[in-house]
């Protein structure tokens, strides 16, 4: 029994050691509000709600001898926002600090006295929008 436990411990520790993450760059959240997800899916649990202009550290992750990658499930970045590490859609990020509506019109937005639930829902709205941009002429 002891041998099995020892073997399992060695196996887990080596498996963990193989996953290496490195901060690749900093990007900014570009919509009104958004969510940092636990898993790379829009239906996954939200770890925290972020607002426009929030800086996020983008990780590149290398597992074993694989090439380092920044995208998961084709469109999700693994990021760090404050104390949280989670996933956010690539399309929602900007490499430059965006011009945010709530920064441009702060007093106007304040007048609507948004509650935390409103910010959460606004972030969900941007999770669930089916979004497309028509091509350039």
């Amino acid at each position: 029994m002891r041998k099995i436990l020892l073997f399992a411990l060695i196996f887990i520790s080596t498996a963990e050691a193989k996953m290496v993450k490195k901060v690749e760059r900093v990007m900014y959240y570009k919509y009104m509000f958004g969510h940092l997800h636990q898993n790379p899916s829009k239906y996954s649990t939200s770890l925290t709600t972020i607002s426009c202009g929030h800086p996020l550290k983008i990780y590149s992750v290398r597992t074993g001898s694989e090439k380092p990658r920044t995208l998961f499930n084709k469109e999700w970045n693994f990021v760090k926002a404050g104390p949280y590490e989670g996933y956010i859609r690539d399309e929602q990020l900007s490499s430059r600090k965006p011009e945010c509506f709530q920064d441009k019109y702060p007093k106007f937005v304040d007048q609507f006295e948004m509650e935390i639930s409103d910010m959460y829902n606004w972030g969900r709205l941007y999770d669930l929008y089916l979004y497309k941009r028509t091509r350039v002429r």
């Binding site: 009104m32 239906y43 509506f101 441009k104 019109y105 702060p106 007093k107 106007f108 007048q111 609507f112 409103d118 829902n121 606004w122 969900r124 709205l125 669930l128 929008y129 089916l130 979004y131 497309k132 941009r133 028509t134 091509r135 350039v136 002429r137």
Partner: protein, 293 residues
Amino acid sequence: MKNLILILSLLLSSSVLSQTKDKTLEEKEGELVDFKSIQEVLKEDELSQEVKKKVSRIQTIKKKRKREDLDRYKIPGNNEIWSFLSELWLVKSASVLKWDFQKPDYGIEDSLKALMEEMGYYEVDLKIILVNTPVLTHMALPSNKGEYIFVLSVPFIRTLDLSKLEIAVLLYEDFTRIKKGYFQNFVAPASFGSIVGSNFKGKPFPDQVFKSVLKKYDDIVFDRGFTFQQQFETTKELNRLFKANMKLWTVYFGMLKKIDDLVKTNLLYNNYTKIFPSPELQLNWLKPKKEVL
């Protein structure tokens, strides 16, 4: 007693610190040195030019700060306000509209994109939110320039068993209504035009206007809908546009026929004709007139 004095002196010093904290070095210097009282000395030292420069620099900083403070009270203009209001309405109506639910990927956005491009709309953003309720079947909401927000009911498209192209045509009909400004004209009160793009610094915020706008969103979406005249104009425009592509015209006609059958047989959708009067009339407007020889 000593403690009280200590606390009071701490409070006083912190308030003084907080007042001076936000000021730039030049502003602080300007406050400390009264240049007028030492004008003669400065003249002799030929430093008056330097003082002038400093004073003008302080004035520029003050002006910039004043302008920045004024800008914080701006109300967005007509090109920026509509997406905010529509999304705010969607957020506030989340419990009624039930848009936060899991659904499969229908590929609706791709078919709408293809149709929009076919109709000549390039470089526009399309946002579709699916709702899990029959109370709102389909609608385009006012949005910023170059952007379109659509709301579409999953129970509605499932009941009708609409194809992707039929859904795209249905949303294109909503797009035509929003382009014609029916929605905006209904929800915006007369005073709205003078409020958007203005500044409310030193004035009370016109919150009643915005409350009324959001209330009217409810009215048009759930109760009032569009007029017969607006429906006639929309149908005629689509008739004209789709006649160049008979496939689209046939899809439009077939889709209206499906909706007409649904609203006549399914009680869940008997409110539909109040919002979009009426599929039966639309079919009649589309039918080619028979010439009597």
